[in-house]
């Protein structure tokens, strides 16, 4: 069996005495959209931070394309094919939409930073190629006509699409989307779903953390449910929707207290 793009194997994370994530294992395959859901405090955000590298797992292993990334810092995981977006909108407010994506292209430049400072001919060509790529990515997420607008001046739903564009610029094999639909209205969520499905078609594995169940059920092939830091259930959207343990975790057990 080929290695999945992203694999978590028995991952633990404790903060002092609090065990935020316990023995968590799941994987994301090529061209697969996996949803990670759970009630507040169930360990979703900790899991994202562990995968992205902002936190280090206390035990267990995290592999990208068969390579353990557990000990690598955030920036070293990106060239291996792991990119992420943030739960809160995180951009460079002074930069234009295009410049943000250009910064996301960082790991794809062929010339060295020194060549860029000295403005060698090959580095200028490199720069032009990356600008082309950035523009194509903006076309893909539907922001091409706003390329020269400052990022602080576009709507919050567009800013969230821009974060995805920035992450895509590093040509990831696995993409972590941390609550991509936060603050979006129905029509904007539809556009987002189209973008995520488009990313899947490119063969990228996507891990989506989201509260909006409609979106999760629409775009995911598989859903992992967390509760109190542990995996409660895993399955197709239909299985998850009818799983009594999941309903129990979200809505209570139906018995009077």
């Amino acid at each position: 069996m080929p290695e999945p793009l992203l694999a978590l194997v028995g991952v633990h994370k404790s903060f002092g005495g609090v065990r935020a994530v316990r023995d968590l294992s799941f994987h994301v395959g090529e061209g697969e959209v996996v949803g990670l859901i759970g009630p507040n405090g169930s360990g979703k955000s900790t899991t994202v931070q562990l995968v992205a590298g902002a936190l280090t797992a206390s035990a267990g292993d995290i592999r990208v394309d068969g390579r353990s990334v557990k000990a690598l810092p955030v920036s070293a995981r990106v060239p291996l094919g792991l990119a992420r977006t943030f739960q809160t909108t995180s951009l460079f407010p002074e930069y234009t939409v295009e410049e943000q994506v250009l910064l996301g292209c960082h790991t794809r430049f062929r010339c060295t930073a020194a060549a860029s400072v000295l403005q060698t001919r090959s580095s200028r060509r490199d720069d032009a190629e990356q600008r082309d790529r950035a523009f194509r990515i903006l076309e893909f997420v539907g922001l091409a006509d706003l390329a020269s607008v400052p990022a602080a001046a576009i709507s919050s739903a567009r800013q969230r699409l821009l974060m995805i564009a920035m992450a895509l610029a590093s040509e990831p094999r696995v993409l972590l989307l941390d609550e991509p639909a936060a603050g979006m209205v129905a029509s904007e969520r539809k556009a987002l779903a189209r973008v995520i499905l488009g990313i899947r078609e490119r063969g990228v594995g996507v891990l989506v953390i989201e509260h909006h169940m409609g979106l999760i059920l629409e775009i995911c092939q598989r859903i992992v449910v967390l509760n109190f830091g542990e995996k409660l259930a895993e399955g197709t959207p239909a299985e998850i929707r009818n799983d009594p343990r999941v309903i129990d975790a979200y809505l209570g057990n139906g018995r009077p207290c």
Binding site: S75, R77, F86, S90, P93, L103, H106, M166
Partner: protein, 332 residues
């Protein structure tokens, strides 16, 4: 601004700068201009760290001291040619910046500022107390000017103020050009992104610490160059001018002129050198007036002089263009 206009203004400034020694009749003004050029080198370095990456370092004075003492010691005590010691001094300062920058760039914001402040204090303390080596507070006299150069039959002497002025002008222009190259490259883009949101920079796969370290080492290099130029100009060194006051002056030059711009550090450097002199009219209240001016400038021009002036020009140009346009078409 159109390209032709930029080139025109640039040429005019260059000619004015080259002709300046002949226009200034008071030698003291030329003396101040030389200091301002040296401070421009220092401020361009400070701008790389403070203006681009947003990390405020309070060590510019300390690295300037390292450059000044390195060059003075190599030429006076080791007997090396002045040109060689002046050329090596920036590298000595850069090496120090590399060693102290690596651990201190792990802390952020105010903590980084405090760590660099500590370096500055340590450097000055060592210079004051290692008397057998540096001469301590009494200082080190008889630091020579660099030897005359013969270029294509033309004798260039640096013994006088005029010759030295061209040397520091060249250094200031080179430091500004270096800043321009960094600003317009991928490196500048990353540094300015670090100022805006370092967490996202890391998440995009950029090892932010390398870029911060580069900016810090480059600023140490330029501070060292400024120190060497200062030492051989004044001819006498003691630790007094390299205290935290000097680091504050570098920070001020960048903030006043326009943080993160290329012209800002130049404007700022001239201001911090000349303003205290012009304020001599205020007599005993000179430093009080200086302080007051700085407070007012920070309140009313938080982004600095250069961005404010250039915004003013742009606004004027837009209004002028609107006034010259025939009549606006009523139908959209």
């Amino acid at each position: 601004m159109s390209r032709a206009l930029r080139v025109g203004i640039g040429t005019a400034v260059a000619i004015a700068a080259l002709a300046l020694p002949h226009a200034l009749t008071v030698p003291y003004f030329l003396h101040l201009t030389i200091l301002a050029c040296i401070w421009t080198v220092l401020a361009q370095g400070q701008n790389l760290v403070q203006g681009f990456s947003g990390y405020v370092s309070i060590a510019a004075g300390g690295f300037m001291a390292i450059g000044a003492y390195a060059s003075a010691l190599l030429s006076v005590k080791a007997g090396w040619p002045v040109w060689t010691s002046m050329a090596l001094a920036p590298f000595v300062a850069a090496a120090f910046a590399l060693v102290v920058g690596y651990p201190s760039l792990r802390v952020k914001g105010h903590y980084f500022a405090i760590v660099t402040l500590a370096y500055n204090l340590v450097i000055v303390t060592v210079l004051n107390n290692y008397e057998s080596f540096t001469g301590g507070e009494a200082g080190m006299p008889n630091i020579q000017r660099p030897a005359a150069l013969v270029l294509g039959g033309l004798q260039l002497s640096f013994a006088g103020r005029e010759g030295y002025y061209y040397l520091v002008l060249l250094a200031a222009a080179a430091a500004t050009a270096g800043g321009a190259l960094v600003l317009h490259s991928r490196v500048g883009r990353v540094l300015i992104a670090i100022r805006q949101n370092e967490m996202v920079v890391d998440a995009l796969g950029v090892a932010a610490w390398r870029y911060k370290l580069f900016a810090f080492v480059a600023s140490g290099f330029l501070a060292g160059l400024a120190g060497a130029l200062y030492a051989h100009f004044i001819g006498f060194l003691n630790p007094e001018p390299f205290g935290t006051d000097q680091s504050m002056n570098a920070i001020l030059a960048v903030t006043l002129g326009g943080s993160g711009t290329l012209l800002g550090p130049i404007v700022g450097a001239f201001l911090v050198v000349t303003l205290p002199e012009y304020l001599r009219v205020a007599d005993t209240y000179r430093l009080v007036a200086y302080g007051l001016l700085l407070v007012l400038a920070t309140i009313f021009m938080p982004r600095g002089i250069v961005p404010m002036v250039s915004r003013g020009f742009q606004g004027m140009a837009t209004r002028l263009a609107a006034a010259l346009r025939p009549r606006p078409d009523p139908t959209p």
